[in-house]
Symmetry: C2
Subunit: 394 residues, 2 copies
C-alpha cells in the first residue's frame, strides 16, 4: 500500500473546497450573479499593468536560453540582490543577497523552511486563528503542532497562554501578520513582547526558537498602518514572503525566503534551506517570474478596492448587529457567529446564498471568515441578505 497519510490528505476536501463546490452547483442552478461567495482567498483585482508589460518585454527581448534556462537553485543573483536592497531600503534591515532564497510562493517558503528547521518531534506553535495548511506543512516536516488562541478582543497575542505552550521542544512559531483569517496586524508592542518572551524561554531552556514570519499579506494594510518587520525585533527570524497577493499573481508561484542576517548560525540555516529546497524537488523558482518581480519591487495591484470593500462590509455588518474586530489588513473579516456553532450558522447563511467559511479549521470555533477579495457590487448586493440572516437571531 502507498502512503495512507498522503491519500487521506488528498481525499479530505478542505472545508473551503467543499463550499467552493457547493457554490459552483448553486451558480449553475440560479446564476452566478445570485450567489454571494465569500469563501475564497483568490485576489479579485488584476495584476498591475507593469507586471504584464515587464513579462512581455522579457519574453521579447531577453535571449530564450537566459530567460527560460535554470537559474541557480537559490535564485538568480541579480534578483536576490534587488530583493535584499529593497528589504534594506524599506525596513533599515541588514538583508544580504546570499541569505535570500527564491521560492514557488509562500507555501513553498514555509515547507522548505520547516523542513530545514525541524527534526522529528520538534514542536511548532501556531497562533489561532491560523491558515489551516500550516498544520499539514508542519506534520509533513515531522513536527508536532501546538496551538494558542489569540485574544478575542483584538486578535493580538495572549502572552500568558503562549508562555504555557512553549517547551524545551519548541523549535518555531509561525507569525502571520496581517493575518488570514482575522485581518489583524500584530502591533509593535506585541512583537516587542513576543521577542522578549521567546528570548527568555530560549535562555531558560538553552534552545533556539525560530520565528517564521509568513508575510503574503504584508503589502495589504489600510490607513498606512505599520507592519513591524520582525527581523528588526527578533534575531532568529526567517521571513517567508510571496508576491501572490500584493501583485495578484497567486497562480504563478513566486516568493522568497529571507534568513535574517542576525539569526544564530545564519549560514548553516541558509544551507539547510537550500538542502530542503533541493530534497523537496523545487530546483529553482520559475525564471520568468523571478526576472519579473525584480523589475516591479515595491509595486502592488490596486489594493484600494480591498480597503473600500473592508469599510463597506465592516461598517454595514456591525451596524446590523454582527460582532467583529475591524481588520487592518489582508482581505478577510472574521465575525463572531451569532450562534455557538459556526458550522450551523454557515449552513443557515446558505439560505440567503451567502457562502462563508466556519472558523473551526482555523483553530477558532464560533467564528466565521468572510473574504472580501470580491467585487464591491457583490458586497452591495449581499448586504441585505446579511441583515436578514442576523435578524433570524433577534
Amino acid at each position: 500500500m502507498f502512503s495512507e497519510k498522503m491519500m487521506e490528505l488528498g481525499k479530505k476536501r478542505s472545508v473551503i473546497r467543499e463550499i467552493f463546490e457547493y457554490g459552483n452547483l448553486r451558480r449553475s442552478q440560479i446564476g452566478a450573479e445570485n450567489v454571494f461567495d465569500f469563501s475564497l482567498g483568490n485576489p479579485s483585482i488584476p495584476a498591475p499593468d507593469v507586471v504584464n508589460d515587464v513579462m512581455v518585454d522579457l519574453i521579447k527581448n531577453k535571449p530564450s536560453v537566459a530567460l527560460h534556462g535554470y537559474t541557480s537553485a537559490q535564485g538568480d543573483a541579480g534578483v536576490r540582490k534587488a530583493i535584499a536592497d529593497n528589504i534594506n531600503e524599506r525596513f533599515c534591515a541588514d538583508a544580504k543577497p546570499e541569505l535570500i532564497y527564491m521560492t514557488c510562493g509562500a507555501a513553498a517558503s514555509l515547507t522548505i523552511t520547516l523542513n530545514a528547521l525541524l527534526n522529528v518531534g520538534d514542536e511548532v506553535v501556531l497562533l489561532a486563528p491560523f491558515f489551516p495548511e500550516y498544520r499539514v506543512f508542519v506534520e509533513k516536516a515531522g513536527g508536532v503542532v501546538k496551538t494558542v488562541k489569540c485574544r478575542e478582543e483584538d486578535f493580538q497575542i495572549d502572552f500568558l497562554a503562549l508562555e504555557e505552550v512553549i517547551t524545551k521542544k519548541t523549535k518555531a512559531i509561525i507569525i502571520n501578520s496581517p493575518n488570514n483569517p482575522s485581518g489583524a496586524v500584530l502591533n509593535r508592542e506585541t512583537i516587542t513582547l513576543l521577542a522578549e518572551l521567546l528570548n527568555k524561554k530560549a535562555d531558560e531552556f538553552g534552545t533556539d526558537i525560530y520565528v517564521l514570519a509568513d508575510e503574503p499579506y504584508r503589502e495589504l494594510v489600510y490607513n498606512d498602518l505599520e507592519v513591524p518587520y520582525i527581523p528588526n525585533f527578533y534575531d532568529n527570524t526567517v521571513v517567508c514572503y510571496s508576491f501572490s497577493k500584493s501583485l495578484s499573481l497567486p497562480g504563478e508561484r513566486i516568493g522568497y525566503i529571507y534568513v535574517s542576517s542576525k539569526a544564530k548560525n545564519y549560514g548553516d540555516l541558509y544551507a539547510a534551506v537550500c538542502g530542503a529546497g533541493r530534497a523537496l524537488g523545487f530546483v529553482c523558482a520559475p525564471s520568468l517570474l523571478q526576472y519579473t518581480v525584480k523589475e516591479v519591487l515595491g509595486k502592488t495591484a490596486d489594493i484600494s478596492v480591498y480597503e473600500k470593500n473592508r469599510n463597506l462590509l465592516y461598517n454595514a455588518l456591525t451596524s446590523y448587529g454582527y460582532t467583529a474586530v475591524r481588520p487592518d489588513g489582508a482581505f478577510y473579516l472574521f465575525i463572531k457567529s451569532p450562534e455557538a456553532d459556526a458550522n450551523a450558522f454557515c449552513e443557515r447563511a446558505k439560505k440567503y446564498e451567502l457562502l462563508l467559511v466556519p472558523g473551526d479549521d482555523f483553530g477558532y470555533e464560533g467564528y466565521v471568515r468572510i473574504s472580501y477579495c470580491v467585487s464591491t457590487e457583490m458586497i452591495e448586493k449581499a448586504l441585505p441578505e446579511f441583515e436578514k440572516l442576523i435578524n433570524e437571531y433577534k
Copy 2:
C-alpha cells in the same frame, strides 16, 4: 539545532556544481571561448518561437485574474484534458484528465510521487547509471535506495542483477529512458521483460511494485527510434513528465504526473499524489506555463542540433580510440574512462580545458558524462583536445 541532514545537503556541492565553478574561474582567466565545458544539462537551444508567441498572446488577451489566479491544485481542467488527449493520441493509451496532476517540473513530479508512494523503510530500485538527485528525493521521502548496474555493452537492464535486489520491501523502480547520463533508450524487449519480472516478483511477494517513468527526455530521440510508453506494458506505472528539455524551458518549472488508468487503485493513488503535492507546498503549477504548454503540445525546440552534436562527437571520439555506447536520446554521451579512476581522468582532461563529469555520482564508476547540449562550434574546437587527451594513454 535545525535539520543536520538538510544542512549537509545544502552545503555539499554536487560534483557538477564544482566543475561549473571551476569553469567560471577558467573562463575569467583565459576567456570563455577557450574553455570546453561539457558539464551541464541546460538546453542550449532556444524555446520554439511558438512558445513565446503563445505566452505573449495569453498575457495580452487572457484576463489577468483568470491567467494569473490559482488553478485547482491538480492543474487547470482544460490543460489536463488536452494533455490526456495528447497522450492517448500518441500512445493509444487510456489517459484520463482526472489522473493528470500538473507539477513544477520533473523533480517535483518525482518528489510528489515518491512521497505519495513510500512508507518509511520502503525500498526504491535505481538502475545505474542514474541521475544523482534520485537518491536525495528517495531518502527525503523516507525510502531506502537499492541500486543495480545496467549492462555495460548497451546500458539495457541486467535482469539477473535486478531480480536479486527486488525484495518484499520494494515499492518502486525508477526508469529513466532516454537516460541521463548514458543516453540509452530502453527498447521494447527490455520493457517487456521488465514488466514480466515485476509482475512475477509482485505476485511472489504479494506486493505492488510501481514503475516511476521519469521522462524529461522522451522527445529527445534520434533516428525516429521508438521510446516504448511504459503504461502500455506495465499497469502500476506513474509517468513523471517535464517540458523542460523538449521545449527548452527548464527554468520555468512545468511538467505533470500521469497515474496510469490501469494502475491498481488508481483513484486512491491519485489522491495520494494530490495529498503529497499539498503537503510539500506545491499549491499549483505556474498558471501561465500551464496555459502555454496546452497550446504547444507535440511541439519541440529544434532538437536536430543535438542529433548533429551527437553524431559529430560520437564519431570523432570513437575514431580517436574512446569507448562509448552510441546514445540514442537525451543529450549525453557516456564514455569509458581510459583509466580506472574516472575522477583522475577528468582531472587530466582539465589540462586541455575539457570539463567532464565523472560517473561515480551516477552510480557508475570508470565512466564519464559528456553533455552535448552545447554549440556545435565548441565541439569542433574541442575535438583536437579530446584526441590529445586519449593519446596520453597510448
